[in-house]
Amino acid sequence: MNAMLREQAHLPLETRGLQHCYEGVNVLCGIDLALEPGSVLGLIGRNGAGKSTLIRAMLGLLVPLAGSTQVFGEAALKLSDAAKARIAYVPQQPEALAWLTAQQMLDYVGRFYPQWDATFVRTTMERWQIQPNRLLAKLSPGERQRVDLIRALASQPELLVLDEPAAALDPVARRELLREVALRAGESGTTVLFSTHIVSDLERVASEIAFLHQGKLLMHCSVDETKERYARLWLPGKMSAAAPTESLSRRRHEDGSISLVVERDAAGQWPQAAGLAGARVDALGLEDLFVEIAE
């Protein structure tokens, strides 16, 4: 009973103060992030924002410069076999075991997972039209990604981490994947973390969104909340001095007017400047919000 309670207390994934750099350039600047059980977190950011590095550091696939990550309460860099059996990860453009056929790879990996779903493998291989006896090296990038997704899903993980899972998939396969992810999260309570550029994917399945920009986590909230919580504040040039100092982005236009992405405060109010005559508050869709901040 105590063990169960202890286990329930552990978050599937939790990271604190994660820092990393490549060749002197900061890629992660003190990231704090936690995933609640059963949540689907979409990690979004521009190319080179540090999404893959963050994911790899969170799973113990690289040693960060500073900070720590816990996966099911265990240090990510020293996971036990029991914890590993609960995790599945699909990297961006997977290239593992190119010398095996698709069937051999799934057979090989399946031997290590106690809850391996061979029936799911068989049916999904047929549904996704993967030739089981072709070497992985000879599959197209999209097919290879699909095989790796089957590998990840067949282990029936409690934590599913996907790095740009839809990058090489056609629209049909992408939609099937998203459906599968939503199903796993909804029915089995699988916690999902996935990175993407495709905002519509986020809107379709993610319950939470985390926006990574230049190594910093600019926002982390539920998808629905983004529309309520963030907006674009436009101030004419003569009022630019009244612009709030704290904003997620700030852009000055040629006519002197200024656009800012602002956030409601703890009391649910927009910054004071929003109430000035001539000021305008525009609701932002997820994609607009992303573009406004990232640009």
Binding site: L59, L61, V63, A75, S80, P94, A96, W99, Y108, F112
Partner: protein, 501 residues
């Protein structure tokens, strides 16, 4: 297009590592040629100097300037205007410069300018032709010594002092230029110019992207089995050469075999058919060299051809196999594992998160057994073969000792570098290349020198040479010990061994 862009072209066509290596080689050979000319008192002093410098010309054109073709292909594919013309002018400029300048210097010093010019033009065109010809033809270069010997019996090849040399050499240069033009055009207009394989040009192997030059150099040198991207390698191999995995005894209960599957290619447990095909492939390719050596032996004793094949060629082959094979095994293993430990989207994340492999020191020991077991299992029979050859050649104790040291040197280098990879403490690419080259040179000297420096026809300074080789091995042993210990410490300190280098 301007003169500056023509002059600058060699600086943009290749990786810095190849460029600096070629420059170093050409400057060293040039300096050696000048020294040779200065100290030689023979009437044909210029010949040695020209051949020394010529070897650097061949190297430069094979490995460096031939890369112009890659840029030409890219420029054509991207429809970039003007580049082809600049490239052509640059090639002609540097080609003529490399020939004309030394020819002028030799002529001023009293050498035969015409012969020198033709020899250097031959070196230049042969170098570029070698880079552009299909790889299977390059393999036949191994036959050249035997072929030349044989041709001398059939065709009257004029010597350098023969007046007929000038027209013969001019014709050869013309033939080479035609070959270059034909191959350049074919490769430039090929539908899939970048495909690699035995039928592709040698220069295509310089396309491997690498930040440190390690891949590009290793590709050039032919050690591509481990270093080249696994998927690319498999895509380029015909179906009958594809690996055939045997997964019967693989899983959490046989973790070493499981790790061998993840290390891939020749580490992987294969079906009997898979092993048979691999062994046959190696044996057939070795037959080329056996035949070459047999032919050379048969020239020495034409009446005793069978004996020459069985004894002379066989023993020579074993010697060659031991000297080259050990280094090749070591280098291939190191490159294969370097590749595995540098890709973040391949086997490393899979292994790091695969349950059932265990943790801590047990996992590290199993990984070492998987990573070292197979190559060492191949190197040991090589050592025994070498000792057998030494016994057949009736070498003395010193000969046996040096041959053993050479093979142990290869093994120790492999162990030290594999520990460095697993421990995340891989030395810089240039240092690794330098170490492997050093071990290869010492290994070759240790294999062949004792028999040459001892006995009835012993060299005057043979003893000193052997002492120098011994000292070289001692120095290498120190480096390997340091590398190995550093790697082992790194492996123990890492949270887990499946972290990229």
């Amino acid at each position: 297009m301007n003169p500056a862009s023509i002059l600058r072209m060699p600086w943009v066509i290749s990786h810095a590592f190849i460029r600096w290596l070629a420059l170093f080689y050409i400057v060293t050979c040039g300096a050696a040629s000048v020294a040779f000319s200065h100290f030689s008192h023979k009437s044909d002093w210029w010949l040695g100097a020209v051949l020394l410098y010529g070897s650097s010309l061949v190297f430069t054109w094979v490995f460096w300037l031939s890369n112009s073709l890659l840029l030409a292909i890219d420029a054509r594919q991207l429809r970039l205007p003007g580049i082809q013309r600049t490239l052509m002018l640059s090639l002609w400029f540097y080609g003529l410069l490399g020939v004309a300048l030394p020819t002028l210097l030799v002529a001023l010093a009293g050498g035969n300018a015409l012969v020198v010019g033709e020899l250097l033009a031959l070196c230049t065109t042969i170098g570029l032709a070698v880079a552009l010809l299909p790889r299977y033809l390059i393999l036949l270069i191994g036959f050249l010594p035997a072929l030349t010997d044989e041709l001398e019996h059939i065709v009257d090849i004029p010597s350098l002092s023969d007046p007929r040399f000038v027209p013969y050499a001019a014709a050869a240069v013309g033939l080479m230029l035609l070959t270059i033009g034909w191959r350049w055009y074919r490769l430039l207009h090929a539908k899939q110019p970048y495909m690699q394989g035995l039928r592709s040009a040698l220069v295509m192997y310089a396309r491997n992207p690498s930040r440190d030059g390690w891949s590009s150099w290793s590709s050039w040198t032919g050690f591509t089995v481990g270093d080249q991207d696994s998927s690319t390698l498999i895509q380029q191999s015909p179906d009958w050469m594809q690996p055939r995995a045997d997964l019967r005894n693989v899983g959490p209960r046989a973790p070493i075999n499981a790790l061998r599957v993840a290390l891939g290619r020749w580490y992987m447990p294969q079906t009997s058919r898979g092993y048979l095909i691999q062994i046959l492939t190696v044996l057939v390719s070795m037959l080329f060299f056996i035949a070459t050596m047999a032919t050379m032996q048969s020239n020495a004793s034409p009446r005793n051809f069978a004996f020459a094949i069985l004894h002379g060629a066989g023993i020579d082959f074993i010697g060659w196999l031991g000297a080259m094979g050990g280094t090749l095994l070591m280098a291939t293993t190191v490159m294969a594992l370097t590749q595995r430990w540098s890709k973040v989207n391949a086997e490393l994340p899979l292994l790091a998160l695969l349950p059932g492999l265990g943790n801590g020191m047990t996992l590290r020991r199993m990984l070492l057994r998987a990573g070292l077991g197979m190559p060492l299992a191949w190197m040991l029979p090589l050592l025994l073969l070498m000792l057998f050859a030494a016994w057949q050649m009736q070498l003395n104790v010193l000969g046996f000792a040096f041959i053993t040291i050479a093979q142990l040197g290869n093994m120790a280098t492999m162990v030290a570098l594999v520990l460095s990879i697993f421990g995340g403490r891989m030395p810089r690419a240039w240092a690794t290349v330098l170490l492997i080259c050093g071990v290869f040179i010492l290994g070759s000297l240790s294999t062949f020198m004792p028999s040459a420096t001892m006995g009835a026809h012993s060299w005057q300074f043979g003893g000193y040479l052997l002492l120098a080789i011994g000292a070289g091995w001692l120095a290498i042993a120190g480096v390997l010990l340091w590398l190995g210990l550093r790697g082992w410490r790194g492996l123990r300190e890492r949270p887990h061994p499946f972290l990229p280098v």
